[in-house]
C-alpha cells in the first residue's frame, strides 16, 4: 500500500492533457499591458491558441503571427518577423512590448530570433520608431520540448529577465501567481490587501473578467505594466506560488538581484493557504489579521459540513498542471478523500524529486499512482479495462468525455474549462478557493447521487 511514481509506458499520446510550449508563452503575454506577442511559426499555432484561451475566458485579446508559409520554411523566415513587428507597431500605436515566441517549425529551421531582435533594435526601431518605447523580447518555446507548463515558466522568466532592474529597494514583494484564473488573482490580491502588503502581481489578469459596457468600448487586456516588471528587480522578496509556472523567474531574481525567493506551495486548500500567509508574514513582517482568522473560520465551518459525511474515502483522479494537481491532491487528503491517480501531462524529469511528490510517496497509506508524461488514455484505460473505480474526477474540460462516458462525476478545474460557465471567475486558491472547490465537489457529487438514485434521500435531512 503506497504511492508509486511512473512514466507512461506507451510512447505515443492518446488524447493529450497539455498543449505545447508556445501556448504557455502566449497565455503569459496577454497578462502584460500594451503587449501583443508575435508567434513565429505557422498560423495555426496562434489561431488555435487564441481560440482555446478565448473559449476558456469567454473573451478576446490579441496575439499576432509571423504567418510562416512555404518559402519561409525553406529559406528562413526572419523577414516575416521583421515585417510582423513593423506592421504591428504601425497599426497598434499603444503597443510597447512585443515578445517574439518561437515554435517547433522556426526552431527546427534555426531562425536566429535573437539576432533579428538586435537587427530590429539597431535598424527599424531606431529609424522608423525613434522616440517610441518598444521592447522586443525573444522567447524560445520549441513545441517539442516540455509543454505549455514549461512554456509558461520560460516566458515569465524571459519577461522578468528582460525588464527587471535593481533600483531603490522597495517594500513591495513579487507575487508570481502561475497559470491561474482572473478569479484567483482577485482572491490573492484580497489576501495581500488584508495583510496590508503591496505586491507586484505577475500577472494581473483580473481584467479578463471584463464588462460589457454601455459605450461598447470595453476590451480585455492584462494589467501588468513595464514598470511593474522593472520593479521586480527591486522587490523585498519573491513568492512564486507555482514552482513549475514562475519558479524559474523567482530563481532568476534571487540569483541575479539577491531577492529572496519562496517557491510554492500553491495555496490550494486551508493548509497551503496557511503556509502562504505564513510566508508572507515571514517575508514582510506583517501580521496575519483577525479578518483572515475569521475568513479561515468560515472556510473551516463550510468544510466541516462536508468532510466526514460526504467526502471521506471518496476516490479521486486528478489531472492537469502539476502545481494544481499536487495542490488539489493535498487538499483532497485533508478532506479525507483518496486521490488514487494523479496525471501530469509532460515528461519533466524533476517531478520525482519534487518534495511535495516525495511526501506523497512516503506518507500516503493507500494505493496511489502518479503518472508523468501522461495522456488521458492513462485514465480512461484504467477505468475501462483495468477496473479503476472512481467517485470523482478533477481536471480540465479536455477530459470531459471520460467523465461523461463512464458516468463519473467531474469538477472542472484548471485550464481550459470551456464546458462550464464562468469558472474563470472563481478562485481555487486561498480560503475562498477552498470553499469554492469543496462546495463544487460536494454539489457535483450530490447531483450525481440524484441522477443515479444512489442514496439521494440522504440529502433530505442534511
Amino acid at each position: 500500500m503506497s504511492c508509486e511514481i511512473k512514466q507512461k509506458e506507451r510512447i505515443g499520446t492518446i488524447n493529450p492533457i497539455f498543449t505545447c510550449q508556445p501556448a504557455g508563452a502566449q497565455y503569459v503575454s496577454i497578462g502584460v499591458k500594451d503587449c501583443i506577442g508575435i508567434v513565429h511559426g505557422g498560423q495555426g499555432c496562434v489561431m488555435f491558441v487564441r481560440l482555446l484561451i478565448s473559449q476558456h475566458l469567454k473573451e478576446s485579446f490579441e496575439i499576432a503571427s509571423s504567418s510562416l508559409h512555404e518559402d519561409g520554411a525553406v529559406f528562413g523566415a526572419l523577414n516575416r518577423v521583421e515585417e510582423a513587428v513593423d506592421v504591428l507597431l504601425m497599426r497598434y500605436p499603444h503597443v510597447k512590448v512585443i515578445p517574439i515566441i518561437t515554435t517547433c517549425s522556426t526552431e527546427v529551421i534555426g531562425d536566429d530570433v535573437d539576432g533579428v531582435v538586435i537587427k530590429l533594435n539597431e535598424g527599424l526601431l531606431k529609424e522608423k520608431y525613434a522616440g517610441r518605447e518598444v521592447h522586443l523580447i525573444p522567447i524560445h518555446t520549441p513545441s517539442f520540448v516540455g509543454s505549455m507548463v514549461s512554456g509558461y515558466d520560460v516566458a515569465v522568466r524571459d519577461f522578468v529577465r528582460y525588464f527587471a532592474k535593481k533600483e531603490k529597494t522597495s517594500d513591495k514583494i513579487n507575487l508570481i501567481t502561475g497559470w491561474v484564473n482572473p478569479g484567483d488573482v482577485t482572491a490573492l490580491k484580497h489576501l495581500l490587501s488584508e495583510m496590508q502588503i503591496e505586491a507586484n502581481v505577475l500577472f494581473e489578469i483580473e481584467s479578463f473578467d471584463s464588462p460589457l459596457m454601455p459605450d461598447g468600448n470595453s476590451v480585455s487586456y492584462g494589467n501588468t505594466t513595464i514598470d511593474d516588471l522593472t520593479a521586480t528587480g527591486s522587490a523585498l522578496g519573491t513568492i512564486a506560488l507555482n514552482k513549475y509556472e514562475g519558479g524559474k523567474a523567482a530563481e532568476f531574481l534571487e540569483k541575479e538581484f539577491d531577492i529572496p525567493a519562496i517557491i510554492g506551495p500553491t495555496p490550494i486548500g486551508i493548509r497551503n493557504t496557511d503556509t502562504f500567509l505564513q510566508n508572507l508574514k515571514k517575508m514582510t513582517g506583517k501580521q496575519i489579521p483577525q479578518s483572515l482568522v475569521r475568513e479561515r473560520g468560515i472556510a473551516l465551518d463550510a468544510l466541516t459540513d462536508l468532510t466526514h459525511l460526504f467526502f471521506a474515502d471518496k476516490k479521486v483522479a486528478i489531472y492537469g498542471n502539476p502545481d494544481l494537481v499536487i495542490g488539489l491532491a493535498e487538499f483532497c487528503l485533508d478532506l479525507e478523500m483518496k486521490p488514487v491517480l494523479l496525471l501530469l501531462g509532460d515528461d519533466n524529469l524533476t517531478y520525482p524529486t519534487d518534495p511535495q511528490i516525495i511526501a506523497l510517496k512516503e506518507k500516503v497509506d493507500y494505493e496511489m499512482e502518479i503518472i508523468t508524461n501522461a495522456d488521458f488514455w492513462e485514465l480512461e484505460n484504467r477505468i475501462k479495462n483495468k477496473g479503476l473505480e472512481l467517485d470523482l474526477i478533477l481536471g480540465h474540460s479536455k477530459g470531459r468525455f471520460i467523465a461523461i462516458d463512464n458516468n463519473i462525476p467531474m469538477v472542472r478545474v484548471g485550464f481550459p474549462t470551456y464546458d462550464r460557465a464562468g469558472l474563470y471567475r472563481h478562485p481555487v486558491v486561498g480560503y475562498a478557493g477552498a470553499i469554492w472547490l469543496a462546495e463544487e465537489m460536494a454539489n457535483t457529487l450530490f447531483t450525481d447521487m440524484e441522477h443515479k438514485h444512489n442514496k439521494e434521500w440522504i440529502l433530505n435531512v442534511w
Binding site: 497539455f18 498543449t19 497599426r91 517549425s105 460589457l212 470595453s218 468525455f401
Partner: protein, 519 residues
C-alpha cells in the same frame, strides 16, 4: 470606387486590393478582391494553417478512423474538441485524437521509429478500429520523416489495417485552404478505387464537401434515403473510411462546400467521368432546387417533389414567422469559406435580412465571385480580414448581428453586437428545411434578446424604465409589426425539438427496388 481602403490598414497598402464594395450597376469584372495570398505578418488575421485544413477540417470528420498527427502534441491538442462535427458511432473521432509526441531527441535523430511504435500502439489500444490517417506537421515535415514509407511498412506487417498519409504541414499554403487541397488530392491519388462497394440502388451518389456540423449530413441523408438514393460515401462528415475508398463507383458527385472539396470532384470527373453537381442544403429554395436536380438526374423527380412539398408545408409557416421579424436587420456574414455564398442571397430572400458585409478567412477569388454575385449592392466584401478591419467594419456598418467564429464573436460581443457561430452553429443543424428554421430562430433569439437590449442602457445617464419587470423577445420584435401578422393563425414560431437529429438515426425508409440492369 470599387476597392475599399480601411483606415486601420492605410499603412499596409497591399490590403487595399483585398476589400471591395459592391457598387450599383457593377459586376464581377469591375472589381474582385485578391484572395488566397500569403497573409501579411503581424496583421492579426484570423487564418489557420494547412495542417488544420487537412486534419481538423477534412480528415477528422471521418468517423471510424484513428487520426494520428505526427509531431509534438500541441497541433493535436489544439485542434481537438473545437468543432461540432458529430457522428453516428458515438462521436469516436471527436473523442479520440492521437499524437506521436515528437520530442527534442526525435527532432535530432529522426522520428520515424517513434511513429511506427505509435501506429502499433494506437491500433492496440483500439482493436476494433482498423483504419488510420496520419498527418504530417511542421516539425516532422522539416526533419524530413518519410511517413508514407512507415505507413507502408506497418500495412505490410499488419495486413488487416489500412493507413492514409496526408503530408500537409502547417506552413504548406497561405491558410487552412492549402490543407483542404492537399488532402483532397492525396485521397483520390492514394485511396479512391481501392475498395469495391456493394451497390444497392440504381441511384448512387457521393455527398461531397459536407462535414456533418451538428448533424447537417444526417439531415440531408434523410432526404436522399427518402428518394431511394444510395449515398456511397460522404466526404467527409460522418463518413466512413472504406466507403470513401469506393467513391469511384458513384453515378454523381453532389457537392456542397466547393471551397474545401471541389478538387476531389474535379479529379473524379476527369478520372472516372463522374459528373459534379453543385448543390445547396441551406435555404428552402436552393435546397428544393437541389433535390429536384438530383431527382432529374436520376429520373425520380417526383420523389424529390414529394419531399419538397411535405417539408415546405411543414416548415414554411415557421420560417415566415421569423422572416416577418427579421426584415431589414443588418447582418455581417463573416464565415470561413463557403457560407459566404451559400447564405449571401438566401438569408436576404428567405429571412429578409440585409447582408451589409461578407468576408472570407480562407476563401479564394472564386468564392468571392460567388459571394459578391449573390450579395446585395453596397455590401462590403473582405478577403482575409484582420482584427482591426473587422472592428472598423462593425463600427461603421453597425450590424444587428454577425455570423462568425467563436473568438471574433467575443470581439463583437464587447461592442454589443450579438454573434452566431457560422462554422459550428449555435443550435443547429442549419441544413434542411427544419434546420433553416432553426437558423432563423437563432438569429431572432440573438437580435431580440432582452439582455442584449439592456446592454445599450447606461444607468448613469439614461432614463431607467422602472415599469418593466421583464421583457420577452416577442414584446420587442412585435412592436412594429401589423396586427395582422402578430395575430396570424398561419405563421408560427419553431416547434421542433432541441435535438432534431437523434430521431433520424432510428428512422426506417421505404425500400425502392433496384433494377436488374445496373451493376
Amino acid at each position: 470606387m470599387p476597392y475599399h481602403e480601411f483606415e486601420c490598414s492605410k499603412c499596409i497598402p497591399e490590403r487595399k486590393r483585398h476589400a471591395v464594395i459592391k457598387g450599383p450597376g457593377e459586376d464581377l469584372t469591375h472589381a474582385l478582391p485578391l484572395g488566397y495570398l500569403n497573409t501579411i505578418p503581424g496583421s492579426i488575421s484570423e487564418r489557420g494553417c494547412a495542417y488544420c485544413g487537412a486534419k481538423h477540417v477534412i480528415g477528422t470528420p471521418m468517423k471510424d478512423v484513428i487520426h494520428l498527427s505526427h509531431g509534438p502534441t500541441g497541433c493535436t491538442y489544439d485542434t481537438w474538441q473545437t468543432k461540432r462535427y458529430i457522428s453516428d458511432n458515438d462521436n469516436f473521432q471527436l473523442k479520440y485524437t492521437f499524437a506521436s509526441d515528437v520530442k527534442e531527441k526525435h527532432i535530432v535523430f529522426g522520428a520515424e521509429k517513434v511513429l511506427k511504435q505509435n501506429i502499433i500502439e494506437a491500433f492496440k489500444a483500439f482493436p476494433v478500429i482498423k483504419r488510420m490517417t496520419i498527418y504530417q506537421t511542421c516539425a516532422t515535415a522539416l526533419i524530413g520523416d518519410d511517413v508514407d514509407a512507415i505507413a507502408d511498412e506497418v500495412m505490410e506487417e499488419m495486413p488487416e489495417v489500412d493507413i492514409f498519409v496526408c503530408n500537409s504541414p502547417g506552413f504548406a499554403g497561405p491558410s487552412q485552404s492549402g490543407g483542404h487541397h492537399k488532402i483532397n488530392i492525396a485521397w483520390i491519388k492514394k485511396k479512391v478505387g481501392t475498395v469495391e462497394p456493394k451497390i444497392t440502388s440504381d441511384y448512387v451518389i457521393n455527398y461531397v464537401g459536407e462535414y456533418n456540423i451538428q448533424g447537417d449530413q444526417e439531415v440531408m441523408l434523410d432526404y436522399f434515403k427518402r428518394m431511394g438514393v444510395q449515398v456511397l460515401s460522404t466526404f467527409t462528415g460522418n463518413g466512413s473510411y472504406d466507403e470513401l475508398r469506393a467513391m469511384h463507383r458513384a453515378h454523381l458527385n453532389v457537392l456542397e462546400c466547393a471551397r474545401s472539396a471541389e478538387y476531389i470532384c474535379n479529379e473524379l470527373k476527369v478520372k472516372y467521368g463522374i459528373p459534379r453537381l453543385d448543390i445547396e442544403g441551406f435555404g428552402f429554395e436552393p435546397l428544393s432546387s437541389s433535390l429536384r436536380k438530383i431527382g432529374l438526374f436520376f429520373g425520380i423527380e417526383e420523389r424529390a417533389q414529394a419531399i419538397i412539398d411535405e417539408e415546405t408545408a411543414r416548415w414554411k409557416p415557421e420560417l415566415d414567422w421569423y422572416k416577418e421579424r427579421l426584415k431589414g436587420k443588418k447582418v455581417c456574414l463573416w464565415p470561413g469559406g463557403s457560407k459566404l455564398w451559400h447564405w449571401a442571397h438566401v438569408i436576404h430572400e428567405e429571412m429578409g435580412v440585409e447582408v451589409v458585409s461578407v468576408y472570407t478567412k480562407f476563401g479564394h477569388q472564386g468564392d468571392m465571385e460567388k459571394g459578391i454575385a449573390r450579395c446585395e449592392e453596397g455590401a462590403l466584401a473582405v478577403d482575409d480580414p484582420n482584427e482591426l478591419e473587422g472592428l472598423e467594419a462593425m463600427m461603421t456598418l453597425k450590424p444587428d448581428v454577425i455570423f462568425t467564429g467563436k473568438r471574433p464573436g467575443e470581439v463583437a460581443k464587447k461592442i454589443r453586437v450579438p454573434y452566431l457561430n457560422a462554422h459550428a452553429y449555435h443550435n443547429g443543424p442549419y441544413k434542411g428545411y427544419e434546420g433553416w428554421v432553426r437558423f432563423a430562430r437563432d438569429i431572432y433569439n440573438a437580435i431580440y434578446s432582452p439582455i442584449h437590449q439592456l446592454a445599450h442602457l447606461d444607468i448613469s445617464k439614461d432614463e431607467i424604465p422602472v415599469d418593466k419587470g421583464f421583457q420577452t423577445a416577442k414584446m420587442i420584435s412585435d412592436v412594429k409589426l401589423s396586427g395582422e401578422i402578430v395575430t396570424s393563425k398561419t405563421l408560427r414560431q419553431y416547434t421542433g425539438k432541441y435535438d432534431s437529429v437523434s430521431d433520424l438515426r432510428k428512422k426506417t425508409y421505404p425500400e425502392f427496388k433496384k433494377s436488374e440492369r445496373s451493376e
